[in-house]
Symmetry: C2
Subunit: 144 residues, 2 copies
DNA sequence: TATTGTTATACTCTATAACTATA
DNA sequence: TATAGTTATAGAGTATAACAATA
């Protein structure tokens, strides 16, 4: 197939994906700031609102060093959005979980993340399904 | 049309876009690190390799405060990748431009940004064109 | 006076290495 | 001894405010 890595359509798609990434990131930071959170704090809170996690697991999900998570959770805890509790079976492990207020903020945060929803309104249902399938194939096994 | 902001397909697409953004960002940082650059430094160098720019214009493009650009360009200049020169018509303005080595690094950086190219190999030419059109419509006027 | 770039300051995120408490 | 979390440290990005040079 005509799949040179530098064919015009491919380069165009690469540029468009760059634009999507820039816009998504920008709007994510703005949404976080509206709740007086940094991007990293918002990401951790969002993670924990799905499922309480040990510190080390948070670091794995965010692909950063565990030592960084200490400070981020510290600041979320100081705001009353997150709490730590020792795991019953291994007292070395500390599980971070959102408070009721933390869950509420995480929910409002998701609501205000209109980016990928509002512009999707431009597309018909069939087109959105098509886009979904193309993105899925593009991401391939990396979805795990 | 059945365009509720919370219909299942829309939510799925939102999640997929989040995955694309995460992967793109991660790989961008890695590519930058391979050249001993931070993400911000790589972005500025990439911008300047297209066109020399006054400090203030760089800040506008990166959507950050001008005071931040001083340090980023300082570090690129210390590495010999970028130079500053006063604008002839307004000596307040300093135009940053890549050196020959800066241009070479920017070029290699682009080469190593395989993300949105390699996985696009999964798609046929027709599918890539389809993806391009969908992304274009999604981004709408924001492409300016 | 207004604008460009810089400096000074404070905060956050990041990685590395050393430390503690458990296991 | 190994592992989970933390602390200490240093570098980088960010915003804000004040400043110098130029317009």
């Amino acid at each position: 197939m005509a799949t040179s890595r530098t064919d015009p359509v491919t380069l165009e798609v690469v540029e468009l994906i760059g634009a999507v990434v820039a816009r998504y990131y920008e709007e994510y930071e703005q949404a976080a700031a509206q709740h007086a959170l940094t991007g990293a704090q918002a990401r951790v809170l969002g993670l924990l609102s799905l499922e309480p996690l040990p510190m080390r697991r948070i670091a794995q999900k965010l692909k950063c060093e565990p030592s960084n998570i200490t400070g981020i959770v510290d600041r979320l805890e100081a705001r009353g959005l997150v709490g730590r509790r020792p795991a019953p079976d291994d007292r070395r492990v500390k599980v971070a979980a959102p408070t009721d207020e933390g869950r509420a903020v995480a929910h409002r945060l998701r609501e205000s993340l209109d980016f990928a929803r509002e512009p999707l309104g431009e597309l018909t249902g069939v087109e959105r399904a098509l886009l979904r399938d193309l993105l899925k194939r593009m991401l391939g096994e990396a979805l795990a």
